[in-house]
Symmetry: C2
């Protein structure tokens, strides 16, 4: 694979790569050794042409007619997405959702690990949630800096999300997975991804009668 | 507004409408009466041209130079997305995440209401979760049919997700919000949206050093 570091890849393309990776990892578990853009496209509801075009932005992953070798494609996608390492994360906000996320077992396989959990509620600070003792949010800045952590998951109430996001950015966080139903304002070097069930649901009602 | 029912709108455009709605609802709360594609674009990190192009697919919402009247745009987007009514939903799977979702207060404002909660674990069936008594999944089909429910949220383990999705489709469900980290196979008339924190995180590590 030739890495084209001088080419700016559209974010929408980057956003599809984890979905390709998830699907071929699933195929690998099912025992497949190779796949094609057609097969992958059918699984994902994305056109084969789109998949070929997306992957070609990053190099050549298979030969015409023989398809993509799955183990190689997995390895290359992990390399491109920089998840051929373990990323440490902080979780801020230990309500119902924060609890569920702190105990979620699916991060390790994806390349992630929650290192610390924070809240501002004196009743929660010091309590145990999953494998974590909840830390005081007042200690967030020094802890995040000391550990050099770049990724945060934000599960605080909507009313507090922007204030906490500002603190996170201040501490050196560059990626925020935001579960609060608000649009966060962050500097250009910080990436935000929003998880909001209502947004996903509203996208589907469009198609209902 | 002229509704262009005979035109097929790309799903990617439909997918941006709930984000526009969320942002202008936030602006409305902040006291704004009008907005423009520029202001909206800055809030959302989407180009003004893209927003104008997306909205123009559905009609005319503002006059050149005066911007969009916020209350009218909210009402029209709710109409387009069919959330000017309340949609009933079922929730299947009462683990940590299912618990958090059953108790989440953010659905009502978005146009949604959880009507019933199901699990297959005898220890959970009959127990109280939020405002709900957990029902036996064996009763899902008759309950969903009787209530004519079209939307389901799926928070079961990955290994069970496809089987449960098949049951949901069988019962008449047409929209599935899938929290299990698997790609579901469903008939063409069923829409699936996936919520998976790992996919969102992997999209951001691409930009980290």
């Amino acid at each position: 694979m030739v890495k084209m570091t001088d080419k700016l890849i559209p974010d929408i393309v980057v956003g599809r790569l984890p979905r390709y990776l998830r699907a071929i990892q699933q195929m690998s578990k099912e025992g497949f050794q190779t796949t094609s853009s057609q097969v992958l496209g059918e699984r994902l509801g994305i056109s084969a042409a789109q998949i070929r075009k997306d992957l070609s932005q990053f190099g050549e992953f298979g030969k015409q007619g023989t398809g993509y070798p799955i183990p190689y494609l997995i390895q290359q996608l992990q390399h491109i997405l920089k998840i051929n390492r373990k990323w440490e994360m902080v979780l801020v906000g230990v309500g119902d959702l924060g609890h569920a996320i702190a105990r979620y077992q699916g991060f390790a396989n994806g390349g992630f690990h929650i290192t610390m959990v924070f809240d501002n509620d004196p009743k929660k600070i010091g309590s145990q949630v999953g494998d974590y003792i909840v830390k005081d949010i007042a200690l967030l800045d020094q802890n995040v800096r000391a550990a050099g952590i770049k990724i945060a998951m934000l599960t605080v109430p909507a009313s507090e999300a922007q204030t906490v996001a500002d603190c996170l950015v201040q501490s050196g966080i560059q990626s925020i997975l935001n579960y609060a139903p608000v649009t966060l304002t962050v500097p250009p070097h910080v990436h935000v991804q929003n998880i909001d069930p209502v947004i996903n649901l509203q996208r589907m009602t469009y198609y209902l009668d």
